[in-house]
Symmetry: C2
């Protein structure tokens, strides 16, 4: 297996990132899901990459983007005023799963979060994603909370 390297996403990666996100039954079941780079997706990407508290990290093998996640760094008053990292939109290319690429990607995000002084990393994962829950549990995550959502 070629080595996986990690870096911040660039605008030219966006079509591949959207393909990675779209190749997922649960994502496809959701209202508004995008299969290609729409103006809304393009605007969101530019906003994320311009915001110092948001990053999209991609994993690359042989110059191909094969994994992605978004991390948001959030200051807060709870737990003594800690900063936390929120992880969203985690995806590894389907034909490359089971090779610990997701683990390396999450470790990259957690190292960045630690370097920014975060004391906690958190995420929500659809209750139907049993494999994802086992994956996060192996990385030390505890399903201590209900993840509740509401459309607006």
């Amino acid at each position: 297996m070629p080595p996986t390297t990690f870096r911040n996403a660039r605008l030219t990666d966006l079509p591949t990132i959207i393909q990675l996100l779209a190749n997922d039954d649960i994502a496809r079941s959701r209202t508004g899901y995008a299969e290609e780079v729409t103006p809304a997706v393009d605007a969101a990407f530019k906003e994320i990459t311009a915001d110092p508290n948001n990053e999209i990290i991609v994993g690359e093998q042989d110059g191909q983007v094969i994994a992605t996640l978004q991390v948001t760094y959030i200051p807060g008053l709870g737990r003594g005023g800690i900063r936390r990292a929120l992880v969203e939109e985690v995806r590894v290319r389907s034909d490359l799963r089971g090779q610990r690429i997701g683990e390396a990607l999450m470790n990259e995000a957690m190292e960045r979060a630690r370097a920014r002084g975060c004391a906690l990393v958190q995420l929500t994962t659809d209750k139907r994603r049993h494999e994802a829950q086992r994956f996060y549990a192996r990385l030390g995550f505890v399903a201590s909370h209900e993840g509740m959502k509401r459309p607006l």
Copy 2:
């Protein structure tokens, strides 16, 4: 009951906000929990209020801060590039619960989120907080996700 009004928190509210957050068994059980305004809490407050994507909203009755929450507005590539609102640190003063102040506070947060173009609001709540889960369900939240956390 006097009317409750909502506004963004000011630095002078911080000691009261910290008291509201501290008056909670689950919060007290956590590492690093603060009972008073420490330098870390003060720094977090200043960072939150300086960040256009973070707000601390307080509810006020007769000039007294009696409720609080934090909301973070997060752009994302999922669900077609929607913006979401993350709510944290929701608290109503213990002697004033059951009077729909929490509902009004959450509605204020959701109105602000809508005004900023958010299509989704989300939160995590400790699985031991059964009453909180019923409260959020009444407001239309669905516990569709596991909320997973890990210390760093």
